[in-house]
């Protein structure tokens, strides 16, 4: 980070310079050290690749990537970039292929990302062609390491990244297994274009402090205002987190009964509460679990509403948030119906999530002209340890701990 002039002030991880959300040089280094660095990036679900030849196009940071299953049943991933002049190899979001052929000059690649064909390699009628020294094996798109954990396909450009289980750590693995313990089915895909830097969204996901302050849906409709049991888990690296809570049904019942006497509050009650009429499917009583994996992956269980989210930077102040809504393959029609209704809580129109789509933009616009200033991330102290209470920014600090480690930023300036 040669000409890096961003100043990191304050004690440890409690100050975040606003410049990190706007600085172009920072963004370039980020692509190299975070997204193409020693991290595992979510690519797709293994159910997205049902058979040999099934592929999906996705991205790691801004780098376009193809994920494809070969006939050996293995999943391969490589840059979606032709070795010749750099054109995209696959143009569709998904499909089935025998191999990949570049549209530009018809160079072709097998499903493992090897360059196997160069059009007119020997020339035409003895004229032209590639030099005899040209060796196809030496050229090809960059390949990623691939790891599948609980049906989640991750990829890494790094040779140094530890195995996925080690990267995630025991607690995060267990929390992923808790949700993805049986086969899932995709029930919808939606993309939200966010008007802010990607880091503002991943911070928001880790920010348990804002939840009951920004999202008034539950409190307004008197659905979930009782103090809940729960906690925040931050892993050793700081980069991954879990925030969870449980609704106490007995207490909720009492609250509803009591509310029944207060008819003047009727207009603040849901007329059709079936939107939240879920069913118990985990025996630990946890009704909400938001889990993040550094840098840009989120797994969500909000009651019976399951989804994975992929956070991709598409520019300094643009982010693509890809939602994949899930059910279990063995859902009954009733269970599936409940999930469809509960999805009203999340996504671009979600009673809870719509606000998360907007606040990042409020920050991005708010910090214009304030690049030399910084955010305060001091709620709940200055550490990154797990916590029972959720009025804390511990997992936001955790994100910065991991981010700074990958970026090679120590305390003070970088």
């Amino acid at each position: 980070m040669s000409e890096q002039v961003i100043q990191w002030h304050g004690a440890g991880l409690t100050r975040v310079p606003y410049a990190v959300y706007t600085d172009a040089a920072m963004a370039r280094v980020e692509q190299e050290r975070v997204f193409r660095g020693a991290t595992w990036n979510y690519l797709c679900l293994d159910v997205d690749l049902p058979e040999g030849g099934s592929y999906r196009t996705t991205a790691v940071g801004e780098t376009p990537v193809i994920v494809v299953k070969d006939d050996d049943g293995e999943i391969y991933a490589f840059e979606n970039r032709c070795a010749h002049r750099g054109a995209l190899l696959a143009l569709e979001k998904s499909g089935t292929v025998k191999d990949f052929q570049c549209v530009y000059h018809a160079w072709s690649y097998n499903r493992q990302g090897d360059l196997v064909g160069v059009a007119f390699e020997k020339g035409v009628k003895g004229q032209g062609g590639m030099p005899a020294s040209f060796c196809k094996e030496e050229h090809g798109p960059r390949k990623l390491r691939v790891a599948v954990f609980c049906g989640l396909v991750f990829g890494s450009f790094s040779e140094d990244v530890p195995p996925i289980e080690e990267y995630l750590g025991e607690e995060i693995c267990a929390r992923i297994e808790r949700v993805l313990h049986k086969p899932v089915q995709v029930i919808g895909r939606f993309t939200q274009a966010l008007p802010n830097n990607w880091k503002l969204y991943v911070e928001n996901v880790r920010d348990s402090y804002h939840a009951s302050l920004l999202h008034l849906f539950f409190t307004t409709f008197e659905l979930n205002r009782l103090s809940q049991k729960g906690g925040v888990i931050v892993d050793e690296s700081g980069g991954h987190h879990v925030s969870f809570s449980m609704i106490d049904p007995a207490a909720a019942d009492a609250s509803y009964k009591e509310q029944g006497l207060r008819s003047d509050h009727d207009r603040y009650r849901l007329k059709d509460p079936t939107v939240l009429a879920g069913f118990t499917e985990y025996d630990d009583g946890i009704t909400l679990q938001i889990l993040s994996v550094f840098p840009g992956f989120v797994l969500q269980q909000i009651q019976n509403c399951l989804a994975v989210r992929q956070v991709l930077p598409t520019g300094q102040d643009r982010t693509e948030l890809n939602w994949t809504y899930l059910g279990y393959a063995d859902d009954t029609p009733e269970q599936r119906g409940m999930r469809l209704k509960q999805l009203n809580l999340v996504g671009p129109a979600g009673f809870i999530s719509m606000e998360d789509g907007a606040v990042g933009g409020f920050v991005q616009r708010g910090i214009a002209g304030a690049q030399e200033l910084e955010a305060i991330v001091e709620m709940g102290g200055d550490g990154t340890e797990s916590s029972e209470g959720r009025a804390t920014e511990t997992s936001v600090r955790g994100f910065w701990k991991a981010y700074r480690a990958h970026m090679g930023i120590d305390g003070g300036t970088a």
Partner: protein, 154 residues
């Protein structure tokens, strides 16, 4: 009898209720048991049932408006719907099936206007007494991407 003109008038009134910020009137365009869903062409092509919005009763639509008024936090914005002419698949004395293309521009508090959504309504209308109502409206957006958030209904 339900005819094209009646469907056009219905759609015009529907769009006007939203665009004029008379959102409380919006649920009244639907039958009590109804389906309102917002999705996109890709999900439809693959038969994926989830929606950005998914409501199977008029009461759920009323709850959504109440939430927008009382609970949700979003920047002031309004829509301008431009609706095409319905293509009527069937119509008789009891109901109609039709699709209508829409274009929705979003006008933000900052003064900026942008094309927010295009697509088509896939509708099933019923006659309840003299009143034309939507038994089903699936708004199928052409784009898979929603800018920032979708607060107001399409």
């Amino acid at each position: 009898m339900i005819d094209l003109l009646r469907l056009c008038a219905f759609n015009a009134a529907y769009a006007q209720a939203i665009d004029n910020d008379e959102l409380e009137r919006w649920p009244s365009f639907f039958a009590e048991r109804c389906l309102y869903r917002i999705t996109n062409v890709e999900n439809e092509r693959e038969g994926l049932p989830a929606g950005i919005v998914y409501a199977d009763s008029r009461a759920m639509l009323e709850d959504r408006i109440a939430a927008l008024r009382e609970a949700n936090i979003y920047e002031r914005q309004r829509y301008r719907h431009l609706l095409g002419i319905p293509v009527v698949a069937s119509a008789d004395a009891g109901g109609a099936v039709a699709t209508t293309p829409f274009l929705v521009a979003r006008i933000m508090a900052t003064g900026e206007t942008m094309v927010f959504a295009s697509g088509e309504y896939r509708d099933r209308f019923v006659l309840a007494g003299d009143q034309l109502l939507l038994a089903e409206r699936v708004a199928v957006c052409d784009s898979t991407v929603t800018d920032t958030l979708l607060a107001l209904p399409l």
